[in-house]
């Protein structure tokens, strides 16, 4: 098991290098730092001096990959690639446009993101699995049919509608919770209720349908018939036998997102004013803060790869027949 994890971690390195190279190409080769300077400074104030100053302030005035003027190893290290891209591997993300350290900012914003995402994730999983189990239990009845119809309608509604509608109804008309914002400590729950509920509701449609399909595939199998033949009540068949066996396909989609919960949900956080990583990213996109977007892309990839490894490990926990070698 340990050997497997180590090997998977080693596999991750070339992929992260690939991600790194891709973002480097996207941010520095497709558009030169000069283009970015022109964009940031606006059309009017662009003079060659202003561009030079902008680049020097951000360390973009070095060569891209090879510095022929620097002595010795400096030819490789005194470059934009080394400064801006390679250093991300050790957690050094540089500074944002407002001069703050990105790594520090990320650390501070992880918790608010997690405070929304974790309850959302757990509650969402719980609700959708229960709902899907109920639909599978009443399969081929009118309840099942209308349940599926409801799911299809719900997944056809834009996520923006759930957020805007939820804010309007709960916060503006009913005045139950604040419309947006975030508080310190335990006081934060008032701000968290609405985003979590909205997040759970907007996820019900597609996940329930997926899980229902998975459950129905299992229902037809022999071990279920055996369990029924033993005289087990249907609820026990469902909760003990079916759920356990349907876990593998469900885990595939679920575990992989757990590390990414730190990243937050972009739209939700920005609508509800939660100072997490999602709103950080959106603010950076709107302000065209390239350094922050670049860092978030890299972190997102790292978390995703961790998620993949966790998925494999969770398989072997859920199903002892699966051995990781």
């Amino acid at each position: 098991m340990l050997a497997y994890i180590v090997r998977r971690l080693l596999y991750a390195i070339p992929i992260l290098i690939g991600v790194n190279l891709l973002t480097f190409a996207l941010f520095f080769v497709v558009n030169t730092p000069d283009d970015m300077a022109r964009m940031q400074l606006g059309v009017k104030r662009v003079t060659p001096e202003a561009i030079q100053k902008w680049k020097a302030e951000r360390g973009y005035d070095k060569p891209l990959l090879w510095n022929s003027q620097a002595p010795g190893a400096g030819a490789l290290t005194d470059t934009i690639f080394f400064d801006k891209s390679a250093r991300m591997f050790v957690g050094d993300f540089g500074r944002a446009e407002d001069g703050r350290d990105i790594a520090l900012e990320i650390k501070g914003r992880m918790l608010p993101s997690l405070a929304v995402q974790l309850p959302n994730f757990i509650l969402g999983l719980f609700v959708t699995i229960i709902f899907a189990l109920t639909l599978a239990f009443f399969r081929a009845t009118a309840f099942d049919f209308w349940g599926v119809v409801l799911c299809v309608v719900m997944m056809s509604i834009s996520s923006l509608f759930y957020i805007i509608g939820g804010q309007y109804l709960v916060s503006k008309v009913w005045r139950l919770v604040p419309i947006s914002g975030f508080g310190e400590g335990l006081d934060a729950w008032r701000f968290l209720v609405l985003p979590v509920v909205v997040g759970v509701i907007s996820g019900i449609g597609s996940s329930t349908r997926l899980y229902r399909t998975i459950f129905l595939e299992e229902v037809g199998k022999d071990y279920i018939r055996t369990a029924r033949a033993k005289g087990l009540p249907e609820t026990v068949v469902f909760l003990r036998h079916l759920l356990r066996n349907a876990l593998i396909p469900i885990l595939t989609g679920v575990v992989v997102v757990i590390p990414s919960l730190f990243m937050g949900a972009l739209i939700t956080e920005s609508f509800f004013g939660i100072p997490g990583l999602g709103s950080y990213t959106i603010d950076a996109i709107k302000a065209q803060d390239f350094a922050v977007v670049r860092s978030m892309v890299f972190i997102g990839a790292v978390l995703y790869i961790i998620g993949l490894i966790l998925t494999d490990i969770s398989y072997s926990i859920a199903d002892p027949r699966i051995r990781l070698k």
């Binding site: 992929i15 690939g18 991600v19 973002t23 964009m39 056809s156 834009s158 309007y168 977007v293 990839a301």
Partner: protein, 467 residues
Amino acid sequence: MPFQIVILWSDVLVWLLVAACLGFGFVITRTEHLLAAWRRVGKSRIGMAAATVLMVFGVIGLLDSLHYRLRLEGEADKPTVYSIEVLSVLDTVASPVRTRNEKTYSAPFATRLYAKETIDLPGGGQTRGYPRLKYGGAHLGGDEARLPADVARKAAMGFVLAVLTWCGMAALVTMGVGKREGVGRSEAWRRIWQGETHFSWNALLMTAGGLMALILPLLSLAGYYHVFGTDKVGQDVLYQVLKSVRTGLIIGLVTTLVMLPVAVLMGIVAGYFRGWVDDLIQYIYTVLSSIPGVLLIAAAVLMMQVVIDTHPEWFATAAERADLRLLALCFILGITSWTSLCRLLRGETLKLRELEYIQAAQAFGVSSWRIILRHILPNLMHIVVITLVMDFSGLVLAEAVLSYIDIGVDPNTISFGTMINNARLELGREPVVWWSLAAAFAAMLMLVLAANLFADVVRDAFDPRAV
């Protein structure tokens, strides 16, 4: 010529797509097993109902994909000058709702503006009040109390027209079915409504009837009122909804179209040749899929904006710039979404290449590319079709979200996303300005719901496992 035809790049792709569909349709009619699958789609009542709705959206989108520039009025001996404004056929058809702009917000069917203003009285002096709209209900004159009766009368006229059109349509279908199945008209009518025809005419007729009963009254009113209200700059919301359709369709369809060749080629090559080619392609798609989609899109769109902003000389008109931005968005969405299709195709090819008929072909010395083209590709087409229809709704929804974060379409392009983005802050007003949002969400729900239902039917018909 009184106008000059303008061919935007997205128009080219849209019509290419139509041509491809026609070509595909021609192939289907000559291939028995494909025909059987599509017959299953045709038999499904939900499928045909959804297809009818999609067809209406499709017609709107296609009308909006024929662009031209009008010639400006000038003296005969001067060289002809064309207007800078690029119009589409839809703009011309919908010119009553396009041109009759009010000053600012007004509610659906309103005759007065939403906000109070200072009005100059005719006999001198001023008063605070809701100013009369320039166009909305203008035919009523001073007699605004007549409004409900007038709306009801016009809606009823539209409804009668819808009923008449529907009767004509039903008669035509009955005659066609009767002729085809060699039975009398009353028998054909019975078969249609008992669901005994091979094609779900009953679902099609019902949906078409419902749509016409909805659309024709709306159209007969749209010439006199702002049926969905007007937005901040006084533009008719109905017009914006109509224009959004094309943007949504392009994002949903062209994205899949542009990523298809890459995904199919890479997937098949990786699965068929294996070895280092497989390793390389797997590496590429693992790297791409390990970056969270939104972030990759955000990064790419940011870079695209820089390119567009630093090269204003590339675009002759604003429409062209908005159009290229839309296409670039399609490409970027395509880059992030081809990986899953590629992975699916690779897996399927791995399975197919071990089958006897492929090995027989190899033993006969058929070249690899010929095997891929003749034996593997046709057997993967069902996956491609399923992906095309399944991805559509997700992409339409994604456009709205991306436009909200400013990384979607050009702000001047009318789309569901920009409509929602412009209108969402107005919910804070008192009284609430709800009509823009409601219209955008309702139209989007209709499109996406129809697409989802249709996709399910197509998947069930094509998926060999689902029988």
